[in-house]
Each structure stands twice: as structure tokens, then as C-alpha cells.
């Protein structure tokens, strides 16, 4: 017995019935293909969109919130910033180089679709342990794919973050965040304008690559046959994208476009229907006009192809000639594929025949919406009761060296040095700090960005974990010299058809939404990636936060990890704890233990600590967020980066290794007024010498610490 066509396209029987109801007839082949892709989890957010309304975005400085190609915020004096985050998890597992590369290409199009020049990219990454050769292959392939595409397309990559944990072996996570800058008058829309306007396809030719990527790859789980899905991965061409960026920016500058929409998941189906329905119009599309890579493609293939580096421009008839000339100048492929019509019908023609005629808005507005059942995991109380078995005493020098040798805690420049992170002469604080800081040339303004994820803590307590992420990210931009201004989030989860996964998701959304409201930071965009599951094993819940911070004026001499000097004082700012070891680096690396319940954050304290860090940033040489590895690793990083040792006061080892949230270290010249007020502060010691000394009784040489830290990734990548 053969499977019905709709099931082969990843559509349920109920969804198929809905299509019949909308059309009042059985869909034609091409129509079914369009619905199957547009109603996929990846395109329609059918399992999550009912919950995402929890995120608040109506703040005065938000120009465009979620639901657009990118969120847009106002920076004053006519400047806007566009930001977005996306995932390319499944393609990167099937083909790491191209999967990661096309992830970068895709998000850049989301940014320049808005009229913005993309100015920076960040890549939060998650892999299985590097002890496994296949994980090393994925890690190395993903990093070189990001570098290969990002460097060549001419958009700097300012870092990101990385985690290694067993549950990502079968399903690595490759997220990408992008930032663009534009002036107010450059903001463009995707809403099609008037009947008679011409739809022009710009960019690469349409081929058979990436057919059904959204429905087949991104919206289903993996099993051992996943290798056969490789043809569903798109292939990227950064040179085509670079030309497309320059051509589009010239088209915007000259005011030649009525609207524009990028082609991403679901290709022409998605771009034409979204453009038409956003403008309350219809569109006639002629597939014979599409410039193709292969001549014998079927209508379904052309409509669903996810060939990269394509844009759909809507152009008034008088401007068509000028648009074609710009395309010719930049050697960008071009074809006039459609016409805007009155009414609401998206009609598709091939060989003179109408092969599809559907209400354009039905592809997006009528997509299914699922209220999936959620259930708290039955073993959660057991997990919370299973606190890390702490010893009475530890050998601090040994523990510190083991932590510095961990690839997620050691030097990550093996990654960031493969990325061009200096292009555009804007990078004031480069990768390797808590956040990156960019100047906006010709203004006094600066933007700080931090990306953060913490899947183990989110596994133990998704709500607390998600809140901590938001607060940590906020503190990261604050110690970089900016105030938290906007958030984008990438919610990476397992199979939403499992109630425990849905529970993780709901807890996370609630936690993030709460923390953002406490901080007064809008959520301006996000992405949901479900079905991160291989052979029935779900990933740890991995929400990833991209936090944009804004400073005007930007500190001229912002804090850096390499600005500590002999004799400077080391302070801890923020609450002390000493017993927050659940999902800590110490528990993971030294005890190989995952259990217990992470501490909650007091939002009032968090707000005060973040605000204080941002106030101190213009005048203090070193500010550093305390996170994975606790005080010990945070201080060691300052020592290593500044090339100078430290003498710390005697204190309980638990104080040096626990990971209580929302704290930072300040290193200051003697006599600096830290003006603390109601924020707790504690003296830790003084910078100096060539050892990191823990009280009088134990110490570790700085040069050995440095060597171990530097080799943490490289030594694992050999062989």
C-alpha cells in the first residue's frame, strides 16, 4: 500500500482535511506542496505560536517586534538596529559545513530585507563531547562553514558561545544571530503595494537543492537513516549573497522598490504568499519565468526549492528597467516572475495553465495551531533531590587546572580566530569577553551583544534556568558598557509531541518572559526549533538568548579582561552564596554529575546589579561576569588575559567554585570608589606576581594555567 501524498510531505490527515475545507475541493499537486511546507512546524510555529504571546514587545523604542523578518529598535538620531536569531540545527548535523554556512546566509537576508546593512553575526553552538571523532568533525565543519561563508560575504562574526554535552552528539545545535544598522528612512516593508506592480526574483537560480528542507529536515526527528536527507540541505554561495546585498542596498538607496521579501524556508511559495497577504493583495506567478538551474524541474520543486541567495522584489512598472540595470551591474540573476493583483488569490501558472489558485493568506493565517499537552516530568523531584555530592575539601590548584582544560571554559579563540571579527572598523571589544562592543561610526553610540545558553541548568529547572539566562545575558552586556535594550531568543527543544518536552518549553517561555519584564527589556524576535531528537533521545532544553545592549555615549575605554595591572584590587559585586552547585562546571567536570536544583534569582537584586555594572563600566578597567566555573575561573581568566597573577584572601573553596547567579568581578586601581549603595560587595584580593594564589596555602603558576587554558580546544582537535 502506498502512503498518501500529503503524508509523504509531512502533513497529518487532519491538516489535509483542513486544506480541503479551505479550498472546498481536493488540492492540486502544487497546492498540496505549498500547504505542506507553509504549515510545517518550522514555518508555521503551530506548536508554539499560541504561547509566544507571553513575550512583551510594546516598548516605546521598539519599531518592529516579533513576526517580522527582524525586530527593529530605535537608537535615536534617526538610527535603527535590526536583529534576529535563527537555528540551522538539522541541516548542520546532516552536512556541517553547508548547514552552518547557509544558516549565516539565511539570517543575513532577513536583516537586509529590512533595508539594513548587516554588520555583525554571532554563533551560539552546541555539540557532543570532543572525545568523539564524529563530534570533532561536526564542530570543525560547522566552525569552518560559518567562517567560510561569513568571511567571504563580508559580514564580521563577533563570536557566540559553545557548550559540549552528551545529548548534543546526535543533534548539535547551530544558532546564528545577526545585527543590522539602518537609518529610519531606509526601513522597507514586505507588504506588496498596488495591482500591476511587478514581482522580480533576484539572485541565484532556482535548483533542486533544499527541497522540503523546512518540512522534511527541520520539522521531524532524526533516526539512523538521516544521511539520506542530505539532498534536503541547501548549498550556499557567499559570493552570490555578497552581490545580492550590494545590489539590494543600492536598490533601497535609489528608492526603486515598493517592497521586498527574502526567500528562505519554503522558497517561492512562502515569499509570494507572504508578500501578497501582507499587502492585502493577490499575486499571479509564472513559473516559466523563474531562472532555473535545471530545466526539467516540476512545479512543486520550483515552488518548494530552498535554493539560497534569492530575494523577491516588488517593483512599480516604471522602475522595472532601472532594477534590471542594477542587477546587471552587480551580476545578479534576475527574472520577472509575477504581477500583483487585486483580490486575495495567489495564482500559479506553468506552461500557460493555472496549476494553483489559493487564498494567499491561508498559507500563513489558516495554518494549524496546536495546544499540545504538557506534563511535569515524573522524575523531577528525584532530580532536584539529587544534589551534587560535594567533598569536604578540594585541591584548588588541581581543580582550577581541570576546569581551565575544559573546552567550554578554556580559550575559545580556536573558534573566533577563524572568523573575521574586525571588518567595518567597528569592533571595540572583540570575541573572548563577556560581550562584544561595536561602535556606530560617526556617532557617539555603541552596541553590546551577548549570546547565552545554559542547557544543563535549563534541564534541571527550565523556568529558573531561563530566567538566569536572561539576567546573565543582561549582566554580560552591562559589564561590556551598555544597558540591556532588546532580546531575541532561540528556543531549541526536543519533540513537542512529548508532554514533558512541552512542559520544558512552557516553563522556559514563562521564565524568560518574566525576567524580561523585570528588566524592562522587550523581546523583539525569536525562533523555535523543535524535534531536536535522534533515536528517541531529546536534547537538553536549550533556550539561547541574544541580548542587545545600547550605550550613548559609548564608554571610550570600556572594561576588558586584559586591563588588570599589578597592585589593582579585586572585588566581588553581587550576592554571595557558596552552595549553588547544581549544573555547575565543578559538578560537570569534576564530579560528572547532573542533579539538584539551581538557585533562583531575586529580580530586585538582579536589576540593581545589572544597573550598577553599567554605571561602573566607563570608569573601571576590568569588569567580568561570574558564570561557569565560578569565581576561580573568572579570576583566572582575568589573570591569564592580563598576564599577571593574583593573591586571593583565604576563603572556603565553595565560595570560589559555586555558581550563584548575578555577580561580577571588578578589578580597580587602589582607592577607586565602587559607589555600591545597596549592592553587596566583598574584597577578594589583589593582582600581582606570577601565580594565582588561594590564600597562603595553595597556588598555581600563571604560565601553567595559561598553557592549559590555551590548549583546551586545540589539543582535542589534533588527530
Amino acid at each position: 500500500m502506498t502512503e498518501p501524498a500529503h503524508r509523504l510531505l509531512g502533513m497529518t490527515d487532519d491538516e489535509y482535511e483542513s486544506v480541503i475545507t479551505i479550498l472546498d475541493r481536493t488540492p492540486a499537486t502544487a497546492e498540496l506542496a505549498m500547504y505542506s511546507v507553509m504549515w510545517s512546524e518550522h514555518c508555521s510555529y503551530k506548536s508554539s505560536r499560541g504561547l509566544l504571546g507571553r513575550f512583551r514587545s510594546n516598548y516605546p523604542w521598539v519599531v518592529l517586534g516579533p513576526g517580522e523578518n527582524a525586530g527593529v529598535v530605535d537608537l535615536g538620531d534617526g538610527w535603527l538596529a535590526a536583529l534576529r536569531i535563527e537555528s540551522h540545527n538539522h541541516p548542520s548535523f546532516v552536512e556541517p559545513y553547508q548547514g552552518a554556512a547557509t544558516g549565516v546566509g539565511g539570517i543575513l537576508r532577513d536583516i537586509f530585507t529590512m533595508g539594513a546593512r548587516p554588520v555583525a553575526v554571532w554563533d551560539p553552538l552546541r555539540f557532543g563531547p570532543l572525545s568523539d571523532a564524529h563530534n570533532r568533525y561536526l564542530f570543525s565543519g560547522v566552525v569552518s562553514g560559518i567562517a567560510g561563508y561569513g568571511n567571504a560575504v563580508g559580514v564580521p562574526t563577533l563570536g557566540g558561545e559553545v557548550e559540549f554535552a552528551d545529548r548534543f552528539s546526535g543533534n548539535p545545535l547551530v544558532n546564528v544571530m545577526a545585527l543590522g544598522l539602518l537609518k529610519e528612512e531606509q526601513l522597507v516593508t514586505r507588504a506588496a503595494g498596488n495591482a500591476g506592480d511587478v514581482a522580480i526574483l533576484l539572485g541565484s537560480s532556482t535548483g533542486r537543492d533544499g527541497i522540503g528542507g523546512a518540512s522534511i529536515l527541520a520539522s521531524a526527528s532524526f533516526d539512523e537513516d538521516s544521511g539520506v536527507k542530505r539532498p534536503s540541505v541547501q548549498v550556499g554561495d557567499p559570493f552570490e549573497e555578497k552581490k545580492l546585498i550590494e545590489a539590494c542596498l543600492e536598490l533601497y538607496d535609489r528608492g526603486l522598490l515598493a517592497a521586498i521579501q527574502d526567500l528562505g524556508a519554503a522558497g517561492i511559495s512562502c515569499a509570494t504568499s507572504e508578500s501578497a497577504s501582507a499587502g492585502g493583495m493577490g499575486m499571479d506567478v509564472d513559473l516559466d519565468a523563474v531562472h532555473l538551474r535545471e530545466s526539467d524541474m516540476t512545479a512543486g520543486e520550483i515552488l518548494m526549492s530552498e535554493s539560497q541567495e534569492r530575494m523577491l522584489a516588488i517593483v512599480e512598472p516604471d522602475n522595472v528597467e532601472a532594477v534590471l540595470a542594477v542587477a546587471e551591474k552587480w551580476e545578479v540573476g534576475v527574472s520577472e516572475i509575477g504581477t500583483i493583483t487585486d483580490g486575495d488569490l495567489l495564482r500559479v501558472f506553468q506552461g500557460g495553465e493555472e496549476i494553483a489558485s489559493i487564498p494567499a493568506a491561508s498559507l500563513s493565517d489558516d495554518a494549524p495551531l496546536y495546544d499540545r499537552p504538557a506534563r511535569r516530568p515524573e522524575d523531577l523531584d528525584e532530580i532536584w533531590a539529587d544534589a551534587p555530592p560535594l567533598p569536604d575539601h578540594v585541591n584548588l590548584p588541581d581543580v582550577l587546572l581541570e576546569l581551565l582544560d575544559d573546552p567550554a571554559l578554556g580559550d575559545r579563540s580556536w573558534i573566533s580566530e577563524q572568523y573575521d571579527h574586525m571588518l567595518f572598523l567597528q569592533t571595540v571589544v572583540e570575541p573572548g569577553h563577556d560581550g562584544s562592543l561595536l561602535r556606530i561610526k560617526g556617532t557617539s553610540k555603541g552596541l553590546a551583544v551577548s549570546t547565552d545558553g545554559d542547557s544543563l541548568r535549563c534541564f534541571l529547572d527550565p523556568r529558573r534556568g531561563a530566567k538566569r539566562l536572561i539576567y546573565e545575558s543582561a549582566l554580560n552586556v552591562a559589564v561590556t558598557g551598555a544597558a540591556p535594550y532588546a532580546v531575541v531568543d532561540n528556543l531549541n527543544f526536543g519533540n513537542p509531541e512529548k508532554p514533558e518536552i512541552m512542559w520544558q518549553f512552557i516553563e522556559t517561555v514563562d521564565g524568560m518572559a518574566d525576567a524580561c519584564e523585570h528588566l524592562n527589556v522587550p523581546v523583539v524576535g525569536g525562533n523555535v526549533s523543535f524535534y531536536n531528537e535522534t533515536d528517541g533521545v531529546d536534547i537538553y532544553p536549550a533556550p539561547v538568548v541574544g541580548m542587545l545592549g545600547f550605550a550613548d555615549p559609548m564608554p571610550e575605554n570600556p572594561p576588558r579582561l586584559d586591563r588588570a595591572e599589578e597592585g589593582m584590587e579585586i572585588w566581588l559585586v553581587g550576592p554571595e552564596s557558596g552552595d549553588d552547585f547544581a549544573a555547575s562546571a565543578y559538578s560537570r567536570v569534576l564530579l560528572d554529575h547532573l542533579g539538584g536544583r539551581p538557585e533562583a534569582v531575586d529580580p530586585t537584586v538582579a536589576l540593581a546589579v545589572v544597573a550598577h555594572a553599567a554605571r561602573l563600566a566607563p570608569n573601571v578597567p576590568v569588569l567580568h561576569d561570574v558564570s561557569a566555573g565560578g569565581l576561580a575561573v573568572a579570576i583566572a581568566e582575568i589573570c591569564i588575559r592580563s598576564g599577571i597573577g593574583a593573591a586571593l584572601d583565604d576563603m572556603a573553596w565553595e565560595l570560589l567554585l559555586d555558581e550563584a547567579p548575578i555577580r561580577f568581578i571588578a578589578v580597580t586601581p587602589v582607592g577607586t570608589d565602587l559607589g555600591i549603595g545597596n549592592v553587596p560587595i566583598r574584597w577578594l584580593g589583589v593582582m600581582g606576581g606570577n601565580r594565582i594564589a588561594f590564600g597562603r596555602h595553595s597556588s598555581v603558576p600563571l604560565d601553567e594555567s595559561t598553557r592549559v587554558w590555551r590548549e583546551a580546544i586545540p589539543r582535542r582537535m589534533v588527530g
Binding site: 569552518s144 567562517a147 567560510g148 568571511n151 567571504a152 560575504v153 563580508g154 554561495d237 557567499p238 559570493f239 555578497k242 552581490k243 550590494e246 551591474k329 552587480w330 551580476e331 579563540s413 573566533s416 580566530e417 577563524q418 572568523y419 573575521d420 571579527h421 574586525m422 571588518l423 567595518f424 572598523l425 569592533t427 571595540v428 572583540e430 561602535r439 561610526k441 571610550e556
Partner: protein
């Protein structure tokens, strides 16, 4: 002094180069690769990037862009011509400078500040510097490994054509301070006349302290001052 900064499809450092040249008092103009007349230019810069996608081989297609005949004519007439990174690759591909640039020794892209030692001041790129001076300048390339056959290398050394060598922060040259495997640690060269120069590191990324270093200034200032010294 007017500088033509050439834009190929795939160039990406042209705006940075313009920014840096303006800071140093020059008047840069972006010139598209299809132009065939550079008569107003007192100097020419081929900026970094990935001209024509660097497909086939870095610089291999760019050297046939229409503007290149005019660049060659100006080079022969003594106009200062500077190639940075991809521009250096294009100049070697066009035969205006010796050698070639191939993939880095470790087969990974390298983006980080490195040190170079000034080896000769007899060029448009180094005339304001002193021999032995160590500069901290960002390197940003995958194909930055300079190769040259032994006899050509001897000729290059004999005529003092090596301008910059990779070194450590104190000026020692050796394998440990050679980031990409370049022959003889060569980071920058000039032609026999001294008016055409190329280098892999990016001096335009090191002209403001807020970005970490201003050591690139002396190189770009040399270039700007050479336009005044050498009439177009």
C-alpha cells in the same frame, strides 16, 4: 591627493580602506571594476575581500577585470599602487609583484593581530617607517601563505624587495612567529621600482587606538605621502 579604491564584486574592505585613508587626509574614491579610466588618480588601492568570490584561485578572475589594464598602465608609469590582502593576491596574480599566496599552513582561516618587522623602507608602503620597527597589525586571511621559488626569492632579497616579515613582539623572526607558513616569513613585498607594494596584514584595521592598535598608520601614511612625492 585622490586615491582610487577599486571595488570588485566580492571586495569587502573597500569602505574600511576609505575610512582609514580619509583619517590620514587623503581623498579616496570608490571605483567599480568595470571602469577603464583612472586618469584622475594619484594613487590606487586594491582592498581586501574575495574579488569574484576568489573562485578558481584568489585573484585569478579579478586580474582580468576591465580596470586592471589601467592599474597596470599606472603601475608602469610610477603611480603608487597598494594591494592589501586580497589586493596583494591580485597584484601577484597580475604579475605586478612576484610570488603567490596559497592556503595557510594549518588550513584554517586566521583573524588576529600579528607582528611584522619592517625590512626595507625603499617603497611607497614603508618610506616613513624605520628598518627593524615592529608593528602590530591584524591578519585576516585563509590564503595568506606567501610562496616563491628559490631563485626568485634570492632576486627579491637581493633587490631589497621584502618590506615586512612576520615576527614576534620584539622583532625576532622565526617559525614560531610565522602565522601561516609564508616563505621566509614574508608578509609584504614591493616591485623593483618601489611604487607597487602588497601585504597580507590589514593596515587599515590599525589606524585608531580604540580598535586596539594604530601601528598601521605609518604604512598608510607612507602611501599617502608617496603620492605627493611621486607625480601621477
Amino acid at each position: 591627493m585622490r586615491v582610487a579604491v577599486i571595488v570588485f564584486p566580492g571586495s569587502n574592505c573597500e569602505l574600511d580602506t576609505v575610512h582609514a585613508l580619509r583619517l590620514l587626509g587623503a581623498e579616496p574614491d570608490l571605483v567599480f571594476h568595470r571602469e577603464t579610466d583612472l586618469s584622475g588618480a594619484d594613487g590606487i588601492v586594491l582592498p581586501g575581500g574575495f574579488a569574484h568570490g576568489d573562485y578558481l584561485r584568489t585573484g585569478a578572475i579579478a586580474r582580468f577585470s576591465p580596470v586592471m589594464a589601467e592599474v597596470e598602465r599606472h603601475a608602469a608609469a610610477g603611480t603608487p599602487v597598494l594591494g592589501i590582502c586580497n589586493g596583494f593576491q591580485i597584484l601577484t596574480e597580475a604579475g605586478l609583484l612576484p610570488g603567490a599566496l596559497v592556503a595557510n599552513r594549518d588550513l584554517r582561516f586566521i583573524c588576529r593581530p600579528i607582528h611584522v618587522r619592517v625590512e626595507s623602507t625603499d617603497s611607497i608602503l614603508t618610506r616613513n617607517a624605520e628598518v627593524g620597527r615592529v608593528l602590530r597589525i591584524p591578519l585576516n586571511s585563509y590564503e595568506g601563505n606567501f610562496v616563491l621559488d628559490p631563485s626568485a626569492l634570492e632576486a627579491l632579497n637581493d633587490r631589497d624587495g621584502v618590506l615586512l616579515r612576520y615576527s614576534d613582539s620584539t622583532g625576532n623572526v622565526g617559525d614560531g612567529s610565522n602565522p601561516n607558513g609564508s616563505t621566509n616569513s614574508i608578509a609584504g613585498t614591493t616591485n623593483a621600482a618601489g611604487n607597487v607594494a602588497g601585504l597580507m596584514p590589514h593596515p587599515e584595521r590599525a589606524v585608531e587606538e580604540i580598535l586596539g592598535s594604530s601601528d598601521g598608520r605609518v604604512l598608510l601614511e607612507s602611501f599617502v605621502s608617496s603620492m605627493e612625492a611621486i607625480p601621477a
